[in-house]
Point group: C2
Chain length 78, copies 2
């Protein structure tokens, strides 16, 4: 079973890495970049039948920092 | 216009960060973790009408390392 977890910084949390990308794109001559935010994506190959509550547990305990990060879980059928 | 770019390591490229997550999940007592890979996701706020070829350019020049990474561009209407 493939599960994709997307972890992004919460709205309002400063994202220096995103700002750096934004400035770098500007320096490369790309115009009209209003905002950039960077997050991470984790692709998990789990045993079939792993429950969603287990996956939420993984996110809360390891994959994301719930104080400053949001996560979106996307479960695909095998 | 919101554009999301997902950058992942190509199949076959070693992913030590993913392996570290896999082992950490095992240590936390989660079973049945077959494989983990980590990538990044970049959310761009671009001027309306930015062409897809410009976005591909951004990926090739800055956002991804095309030698070892794949990228998927997801353009949403504003």
């Amino acid at each position: 079973m493939k599960v994709t977890v997307r972890v992004t910084l919460k709205q309002g949390v400063l994202d220096p890495q995103g700002k750096a990308i934004q400035h770098a794109l500007g320096s490369l001559g790309f115009d009209g970049i209003d905002n950039v935010r960077q997050g991470k994506v984790i692709e998990l190959d789990l045993a079939d039948g792993t429950s969603e509550s287990d996956i939420i547990d993984m996110c809360e305990k390891l994959l994301a920092n719930p104080v400053i990060e949001d996560y979106i879980i996307d479960m695909e059928a095998a």
